[in-house]
Amino acid sequence: MEGNKLQRQAACMRNALFDQGYLDEQFIQLEDLQDEANPNFVEEVVKLFYSDSARFIRNIDLTLNNSPSDFVKLDNIMHQFKGSSSSIGAKKVKQRCTQFQEYCKIGNFEGCMRTFQEVKQEHAALKKKIESYLQVARQAR
């Protein structure tokens, strides 16, 4: 049946996300919070994450360009970004954020730049995957 097929597909995609390390157990927490009272909780949070994280990314970009040696500021912004990422279980993004913060600590601008690119890549990759998953999951419900 269509429903079953979609459900299986959704399950498959979901598992892939976990297996490939895009998501971690925190995401399961989000799913657990989704219930009749909060039927679209996961989607809402993810949406919120992506709109919010765009802001963070913009800020870091600006800071890297305008005040590249302000590692404290960079670290602060990234700290917040990391907080959000970990809240939704964005594992790879979070890892890159941590790396970025490490470079900030030692004041390695090159490292920061490089890692930030990776952050953006992971961020974009996750967005694509998770959105398509959520779409299927929604349909499968």
Binding site: Q26, D32, V45, L48, D52, Q80, K82, G83, I88, G89
Partner: protein, 594 residues
């Protein structure tokens, strides 16, 4: 949320807990909100700390608990934490993506009940109600003790059962506060306590001593501000003063106890040192007791200082000599002035109560000996050299120097500088005041060796002083604290009385400062000399260090219990190892040096 509503879900205590969540990150905030709702708590969220404060101030009874992020743009989370703790006395839980232990420590020392690391899991949130309950429980005793003004609340609360009474208890507490203010006899209720800004109460050593005494008398569990106030019988002191002081004291004890338990572990490793540490924990003026009670960290030892007899306390202490010391102490007090002697005895007892339990006793023991000797000498040479007193007095700064011996501190005054220091450390008020009088040098001596978290001073001293029995004649070697100190003093006395005394002054002063001001810096300063002392183990070193201490120490008035505790804890932690390592026996020719 009304009592009835809560009662409706009565069998599930945490249900309906009113939480205020503050986090500038919308995702985290949303997640937190949903998680809390899942726990069936009643949640209010805001992304602005200022808004949160505003809401809290508008109605103190509106929330049971606050969860706040550390990193916020409009206000530092720790600042918010302080405000809430001071103004509303609500439990606050810190939240952060950064789980660095230093930050966690900072949170705890600023008064947070808990520190959660993001991402927060629901299991962690399910348990936060215990912080509310714990706090309510401590505060709740008041309403029950008050006259029937809180009857309605009590009835509600009781109907709910303790767990569900959060909201009610919160309300009760607030109401109780007002009622207490109304009915308080000891306080001057001429002004409206709840609304007027009262002149800041300075918690002098004596005042603190009374406070601690009252707390001990009541027992940690039952020590509510109203009762404490009654027992203290101090004019011009309001229940609120006591309440806030009590809160800080509890925090202090908690910190000490946790630090102490760490130390205890370390102490255990060192063997004998256990008791001093335990004492530290315990002696925290009963704060530890409070804390241990609530946090169940420390065993009864902590409680014992206040609640048990001196001997019992001694018994608890690992060192049997402690008991002996105590006894010895009494007789030795003889030569001291009657008041002093009384003080000593009482202070010893109180000391026992204090962390030092045994340590104190030893101190006393040591001190009496000194005192005796010094008493006769009563010159700069003597440990008790008057100069010391002066120095100490100066150092002690704000501490009220009361010739009358405090029960606890008084005793110290005459004989146990050490004790004083430690006590003061604990109680935030420099005990030294008491000790200043008599044994400035003693304090110094003790201080020098080992300033470990206030309590540590005494304790530390004890440790270092000797496990070895370097006590002055009367002192038992086992009396760690006393012996150590005494030994030290004896040594200095024996050898370089004049210099030592003076140096001691420096030390004492330093110590006093530390005790009083209790800031890390001071402690560190003390630490250094102490450590050096260890290594050198000779009077010269001792003297040098003393000198250094003198120079280094700046008397500081004790501003906040937290500072003191902070310093103490740090000190304890830092000192733990050094204290243990400190072996006076080897270094000093203790014995009947005096």
């Amino acid at each position: 949320m009304t009592v009835e509503e809560i009662r409706g879900d009565g069998d599930n205590f945490p249900v309906g807990l009113r939480v205020l969540a503050v986090d500038d990150d919308p995702i985290c905030l949303k997640l937190l909100e949903t998680l809390l709702r899942k726990c069936q708590y009643h949640v209010t969220t805001t992304s602005q700390a200022r808004m949160a404060l505003k809401m809290l101030r508008e109605n103190k009874d509106r929330f049971d608990l606050v969860i706040s992020d550390v990193h916020m743009p409009d206000m530092d989370g720790f600042k918010l934490l302080e405000y809430v703790g001071l103004e509303m006395d609500l439990p606050v839980i810190m939240l952060s993506a950064n789980g660095d232990p230093k930050l966690v420590m900072k949170g705890v020392t600023h008064g947070a009940c808990d520190y959660l690391v993001k991402p927060v899991r629901i299991e962690e949130l399910r348990n936060i109600w215990q912080h509310v309950l714990r706090r309510k429980k401590c505060d709740n005793k008041n309403p029950k003790k008050s006259s029937g003004q809180v009857k309605s609340h009590q009835a509600n609360g009781e109907g709910l059962g303790s767990p569900t009474g959060n909201a009610d208890q919160n309300g009760k507490f607030n109401r109780k506060r007002k009622e207490d203010e109304d009915e308080s006899e000891d306080n001057e209720n001429d002004e409206d306590p709840s609304t007027q800004k009262k002149p800041r109460v300075v918690w002098s050593i004596e005042l603190h001593r009374k406070f601690v005494g009252a707390v001990n008398q009541l027992g940690i569990e039952k020590a509510v501000p109203k009762r404490i106030l009654d027992l203290m019988n101090v004019d011009g002191l309001t229940r609120e003063n006591v309440a806030s002081h009590l809160q800080k004291y509890r925090l202090y004890l908690k910190r000490i106890s946790s630090a102490a338990s760490q130390q205890a572990h370390m102490a255990a490793a060192f063997g004998v040192k256990d008791s001093p540490f335990m004492h530290h924990m315990g002696s925290l003026d009963g704060l530890g007791d409070f804390r241990t009670l609530s946090s169940a960290r420390l065993p009864n030892v902590v409680l014992s200082p206040y609640t048990t007899t001196t001997n019992a306390m001694l018994g608890r202490l690992n060192s049997p000599s402690a008991n002996v010391s105590l006894r010895n102490l009494s007789p030795s007090v003889g030569p001291l002035q009657p008041s002093q002697a009384q003080n000593l005895s009482s202070s010893i007892a109180s000391l026992n109560k204090m962390n030092f339990g045994t340590q104190n006793t030893s101190l006393f023991q040591g001190i009496p000996s000194h005192l005796e000797q010094n008493a006769t000498n009563n010159n700069s040479k003597g440990i008790l050299g008057t100069s010391n007193f002066n120095a100490i007095d100066e150092l002690l700064n704000g501490a009220s120097f009361n010739p009358e011996p405090f029960d606890a501190s008084g005793a110290f005054g005459s004989s146990n500088p050490l004790l004083s220091s430690t006590e003061s450390f604990h109680s935030q008020l420099p005990l030294v005041n008491g000790s200043r009088r008599n044994d400035a040098s003693l304090n110094g001596a003790y201080l020098n060796t080992d300033f470990s978290s206030g309590v540590g001073l005494v304790g530390g001293e004890v440790h270092n002083m000797n496990y070895g029995n370097n006590i002055f004649g009367s002192l038992n070697s086992s009396n760690i604290s006393g012996n150590g100190i005494v030994s030290r003093l004896g040594r200095s006395l024996g050898q370089n009385n004049a210099i030592s005394n003076q140096r001691m002054d420096g030390f004492v002063n330093g110590r006093s400062s530390v005790s009083g001001g209790s800031n890390l810096l001071q402690q560190n300063e003390i630490e250094k000399p102490v450590n050096e002392l260890r290594q050198r183990s000779n009077e010269d070193s001792f003297l040098l260090e003393e000198t250094r201490l003198n120079a280094g120490f700046v008397p500081q008035s004790y501003d906040s219990l937290d500072e003191l505790v902070n310093a103490m804890i740090k000190r304890e932690q830092d000192e733990t190892v050094s204290n243990c390592e400190f072996q006076f026996d080897d270094d000093y020719a203790f014995g009947n040096g005096i």
